[in-house]
Structures are given as C-alpha cells and as structure tokens.
C-alpha cells in the first residue's frame, strides 16, 4: 500500500529521497507545517535532512550555493513567504548568473488569500521570473512529489540554475494527506537537455585545432560545472596549447601547469590577454564571452577563428560570433575531440607552436603578475601568505572587490571547485555564507574566506551560525579601510574623488569575533604575517577572523582599459600598453 503523507511531510520526504544532506533556511508562518515535519523526522533516520539555521535568508541561499559549487550537488533552501522570500532574492540571482543548481522552497500565504495583499504576501514567482531557470507554484498537494522531482531535474541538468517552488501554506496542512510515491524518473516534452554535441562540428573543430599556429584554449566555469576538468587537461597537454581560465573557470585547469597562462579579462594576466588578442584560433569551452572577459566585444581578437562549446545554445554567438559552434555538454565534446585526435592523421604544427610559446613567454617576462612592495603590507602579500600556509590546497571563497581579484590572481588553483566566488552578479556578502556551505560539505577541509572590511559586514551576522554548527572557517579580512575597488575606479576615472568609498567607523573586528565566541587576530606588519597565518590554520577546530591591515592605496593590475580590446591594459598606476 502507498503511504499517505501531508504536503509538508511530502516536501521533507522528497528531500530525503533526493539524498539531500543539508537544508539551509529560516522559519516563519507560511512554512511552519514544513518545519514541524522537519522536526518530526526520526532522530536516527539515516537519510535525515539536517536543517541549518542561518541568521539572514540571503545567507541561506549563498550557503546552499557554496555547498553546490564545492560538491556539484544541488543546494537546497527553505524560507518563509514575504520578507523571508525577498531576502533570498539576491542569493537566487547570484546562483542564476553563475549557473548554480539550487532548489529554493518558499512558503506562500494560503491559496484563498493569494492576491488579497495578505500579511507577508509577495508574488515570489513574479519577483523571481528573470532570475530562475524555472519556477513552480504548488496548486494541489498531490502534485508536490512530481514538482519536487521536476525541480531537481531541471536545476541539475543542461545548463544548471536555481528553481523556485512556492508553496501556499494550506497545501502543507498536516491533516490533509495524499498517497506519496516519489517518481523514479521524469520526462518533460518541453524540456530535453542536450546530451551530445554534433560530431560533424567537433570534427571540423579538431581539423582547425591542428591547423592553428597561435591557438589559445579559453576555459570557463562550464568546465567546472560540467565536470570536464580532466578532459580539458588531457586535451591541452595532448596539443601543448596554452590555456587561460576565466574568473569562474579557475581550477578547471591546473594553474601551476606549464601550459597555464593564468586568468584572462579585466584583471587577467598580461600574457593571457595578449595571447588572446594575438591568437589565430580560440577554443572556448564552457565560457560565455562575458564583457569582463572580452573588453569591447567588437574589438575582440581580430584575427581569431572561434570554436565555441557550450551546453546552452543561447550562449553561443551571443556576444562574439562563433565560427564553429558546438552545442553540447563540454565533457562529452572534449572527450570526443580527444578520441578524434587519436585517429587523426594530422599533428599540431610543432614549429609554429614553439614560436608561439616563445612569444607568450616573452610577454610573461616583461609584464607577468607583479606589484611593488613597500613599508605597508600589500594585499597581494596576504594572498601569497595564505597560499603558502594552506599549501595551495584550501577551498577559498571570496567576496567582491579588490581582494577577490588578488585572490584570483595570486592563489593558484590546481583543482576544480576550490575557488568559490560570485563572478556573474558580483555579490558582496557572498563569501562567509558560501564558506559555511563548503565547510559543511567537507568538515575536515581547510576553508578560507578572503574578504574585505566592506563585504564582510554585509553578512557578518553569520558568525553566529558558524558558532552554532562549529564551522572552523578562516576569514582573511584584507582590510584596506575602503571600498577598495570603488575607490580604484574613482582614482582612475573620477579624478581621485572618493565619493562614499571609504569605510569610516569600522568595528573592532577582533572584539566583534570574540563576542560571537570565535578567535580574532589583528595583523599590521608584514613581518608577523606568516607566523599569524600558521597560528590561525593550526587552530583546526576554531573559526579565526584575521583582520589584516594593508596598504589602502593599492590598485589591482593589469586592468583593461574600458571600450578597448583585449590587449589594452593599464599595467600599473602610470604605465599602459
């Protein structure tokens, strides 16, 4: 006989059936039935869903998002109607921009009150329409299992993304029960994600790859989301071609590999941007030619043919026209490329590739990543010390600003899913809650959150959540006493008029951290930095907040010159290309 469950029980059971470990949320009137069903799970149930009580719903979405980025599994969020749901919006948009699979369950007022401006009523489906992959409004309790199944399916297949399930309170009422039978599979006539690229196109791409004299492999976040790191690495090594990663793609190809030329884009390396600009063939894999990567798209890489592999057809030729578009999962397409190469009579043009590398290495020598040291500590030094203290093997989350770019430039990620940042939306406040999700997923891993004194204050309340669940995150607060990235733009484009970009009245972060029950440290001198890092990371079971004071005048370089091409860059405060 099929078991009968209430809507609330169905929600919780479906999460169990999906193998969900953690549910990040915050209770309120519209979801109380669901919270009761969470409470009533048998204590020793093997597949129990653990609820993580955050201190702000935005943090719930970022934590679920961090969990998803680190594990590849969908993150799950539960929030109440109205303000609970709207607080989650920034996190949903963040996940949407970076194609992160999230399931967001929001409570809604009872169905007979919808449209009446009832207490805590917000049209969440309407609010979220442009920032979700799909959304559902539960109309009938008995539909809940199928909707949950579809939501997980949609969120995790094709180009992943957040899916919203809005559930009116009456649909979860404890006394109304229906048979529960969780669907094993789901088929939707209107949604069939692509599982294989066009072999003919792939063959053409392979021919072009072997003809290239100045090729660059441009690899994005799709490599990480699509689990294609191994295939990408094998392909690059087989061909011996240079690889550049986008901000979202860091770790998709080992940064310390000799074929890596670093990150490209607005704050990419000189050699990566120069190589792109001067290339004759670009193999774009799981990248989307974002404006932060390409600079002015109309001036982008004038002599390059473009091969573009992406699972999302709408991304191909959106900003830069592809000569050889390949719609398909990047993992499958790259592995097909590898087997085609095995059988191909041709070989890379060794002579041309060797002289291409000479040119690239020349660029690297002239203007590789560098900065001037001085009396004051430099933010770059902090990231380098972090790299040393963690042996390059930490999970690093970040917030948004200069510190984010320094982390991307100076922490050399060799593995996928280690670098966790809000690339597309650029959400300050992402770092700490994202680190919570990562630390929960991997309790024994070293998790560092590189942040700034501006960003950290956007979700500082989560120090309390970290205490409750014993999350030993290491917060690296690169404190430049300014909204550094804003200030840099004002220095460069607004005659140094620092309108609202400095951080006055900073709290004493050490005391603040201690008041939450954690360890706080302040570092002012470069001489103390390494020892302080060692000390912090030796405290394996404690959250440590390292408040590190750095030179407030430092800028991030290289920096693309607006409306220019890939090769137009500021190299430091006075020198440009």
């Amino acid at each position: 006989m099929v078991e009968k469950l209430s809507g609330a029980e169905m929600v919780v059971r479906a999460l169990q059936d999906e193998g969900v470990e953690y549910l990040f949320g915050y209770p309120g009137g519209a979801v109380l039935h669901i919270y009761d069903a969470i409470f009533q799970q048998p204590k020793d149930a093997e597949n129990k869903v653990h609820h993580i009580l955050v201190r702000h719903e935005q943090a719930a979405t970022h934590a679920a998002d961090g969990y998803a980025r680190a594990t590849g599994k969908p993150g799950v969020v539960l929030v109440t109607s109205g303000p609970g749901a709207t607080n989650a919006v920034t996190g949903i948009a963040t996940a949407y921009m970076d194609s992160i699979p999230l399931i967001v369950i929001s409570g809604q007022v009872r169905s007979d009150w919808i449209g009446d401006d009832a207490f805590q009523e917000t049209d969440m489906v309407g609010v979220c329409r442009p920032i979700v992959k799909h959304s559902f409004m539960v109309q009938r309790t008995e539909d809940i299992p199928e909707i949950m199944k579809k939501a997980f399916y949609i969120a995790t297949t094709g180009r992943p993304g957040p899916v919203l399930i809005d559930i009116p309170k009456d649909k979860t009422a404890p006394h109304i029960k229906f048979p529960y039978d969780y669907p094993k599979t789901v088929k939707m006539r209107s949604y069939t994600p692509i599982t294989k690229g066009h072999s003919g196109q792939t063959r053409k791409a392979v021919d072009e790859l072997l003809k290239a004299k100045r090729p660059v492999i441009y690899a994005g976040g799709g490599i990480i989301m699509g689990e294609a790191s191994e295939e990408l690495t094998a392909l690059a090594r087989r061909l011996g071609y240079p690889v550049t990663n986008t901000l979202m793609g860091l770790g998709g190809f080992p940064a310390t590999d000799e074929l890596s030329i670093g990150m490209l884009g607005m704050h990419g390396t000189y050699e990566a941007n120069m190589a792109m600009h001067n290339s004759d063939l670009i193999l774009a894999a799981g990248a989307r030619f974002d404006d932060r990567a390409t600079n002015d798209a109309s001036k982008f890489c004038p002599n390059a043919k473009v091969i573009h592999i992406d699972v999302d057809p709408a991304t191909i030729s959106k900003n830069v026209t592809a000569d050889i578009p390949i719609v398909g999962p990047v993992k499958q397409v790259l592995s097909e490329m590898l087997s085609m190469l095995d059988e191909h009579p041709g070989k890379p043009d060794e002579k041309a590739i060797a002289s291409w590398w000479e040119e690239i290495n020349g660029w690297r020598q002239v203007h590789g990543l560098r900065y001037e040291t001085g009396e004051m500590m430099k933010p770059q030094q902090v990231v380098q010390a972090l790299y040393k203290a963690t042996k390059g093997d930490a999970y690093v989350t970040s917030d948004v600003g200069q510190h984010q770019m320094f982390a991307a430039q100076y922490y050399h990620f060799d593995k996928p899913r280690r670098w966790i940042n809000s690339g597309g939306l650029g959400t300050m406040g992402f770092g700490l809650p994202a680190a919570m999700g990562v630390q929960l997923a991997y309790p024994d891993a070293v998790v560092a959150c590189v942040t700034g004194e501006g960003s950290i204050q956007m979700n500082i309340q989560e120090l309390s959540t970290c205490m409750q669940y014993g999350l030993p995150i290491k917060i690296i607060n690169i404190n430049n006493q300014a909204l550094g990235m804003v200030k840099q733009w004002q220095d460069m484009q607004y005659g140094g008029r620092h309108s609202q970009s400095y951080m006055d009245s900073l709290p004493d972060f050490v005391k603040l951290t201690e008041s939450y029950g954690h360890v706080g440290m302040r570092v002012d001198r470069i001489e103390d930095l390494d020892a302080a890092m060692e000390e912090a990371f030796a405290l394996k079971d404690r959250l440590v907040f390292m408040d590190i004071y750095v030179d407030p005048t430092e800028h991030v370089y290289p920096m693309h010159i607006a409306d220019g091409s890939m090769r137009d860059m500021w190299l430091n405060k006075t020198e440009r290309t």
């Binding site: 409004m137 209107s190 959106k318």
Partner: protein, 163 residues
C-alpha cells in the same frame, strides 16, 4: 525586419508571463500578441510579431526555446505562410457618408456587423497591411474606435507546428 514567431507551449499558469517577461527583460519589443489553447487543451499556441535583424531574432528564439514551458517554435516569416489579423472598427456613418463607407467596406471584403443611425461596426480580416489600408481609406476622421486581434499565422503546405 518584421517577424512572426509562433510558439507551441504548455497551457499552464505563468507560461505566458514568462514569454512576455523575456521580451522586456532582454530589451526586445512585442508588436502584436495572440494566444489561445489548441485542439489539445494541454497546449497553447502563441503568435507574436516583432522587429529585428537575423541576429536579434536568433537570440530571441534561442532564449524562447530555453523557457521550460516552450515545446516548439517557428519563425513563420522564414518560409511561405498565411497570416491573418481580424479587426473590429467603429466608423461614423451618417447621411451621405453611409453609402461611401459601405462601398469601401465592400471593396475590402469586410462585413458590417452592427448598425445604428450614425455608426457602423465593421469586421475585417486580412494581413495587417490590408487592415492599415482600410483605416487609411476610411480616413482617420471617420474612425471612432479600433480593435485588432494581433497576427495569427500558419505555414503553407505540409509543414506543421505540432508535437
């Protein structure tokens, strides 16, 4: 260039708002829009007209195809097709004007579907250009009210937009 995009989609609440929302979100314009369930009540057929070059239309159709509820779509203007719009138009018709209006309606193969001593309600079907031409022929000054359905369209020949 003017395009007619015809969409087969799930007949579900919220589906229409996703289509319309996509246009405003991505900065495209909808010129006309008609939608109704098909012979299969689980499906709706939506026809819209918009303006754009090939690149823009390609982007629009790719994004539309990504909407979970969109089953299939076709750009009718790419091939041979039949398009129709229906118009109900209320025109002044008193005295000597009456015969003149009647004659114009006949020329355009319209029908007078309601009559008072001073007005006619005229029903007219055809391409959007034909409806525009009728309004011009009648003269703006004579027109009291215009209601147009927006364009419906179907491909000529064997081609169908179905499951």
């Amino acid at each position: 260039m003017r395009r007619i995009i015809s969409i087969l989609m799930e007949n579900e609440p919220g589906a229409l708002s996703r289509v319309v929302g996509l246009f405003s979100q991505r900065g495209y314009n909808i010129e006309t829009l008609t939608v109704a369930p098909t012979e299969d009540p689980t499906l709706s057929r939506l026809t819209l007209t918009t303006y754009g070059d090939d690149r823009t239309i390609e982007r629009i159709t790719k994004h539309l195809n990504k909407l979970i509820e969109v089953v299939k779509l076709v750009d009718l203007s790419e091939g041979e097709h039949v398009e129709r719009e229906i118009m109900l138009i209320k025109v002044k018709a008193s005295g000597a004007q009456r015969a003149e209006v009647k004659r114009t309606v006949d020329i355009f193969r319209g029908q007078i579907v309601d009559v008072t001593s001073t007005v006619y309600v005229v029903q007219l079907t055809g391409t959007s250009d034909k409806l525009d031409a009728f309004i011009e022929a009648i003269g703006e000054a004579q027109v009291l009210e215009v209601v147009r359905s927006g364009v419906s369209g179907i491909a000529r020949g064997e081609k169908t937009l179905s499951l």
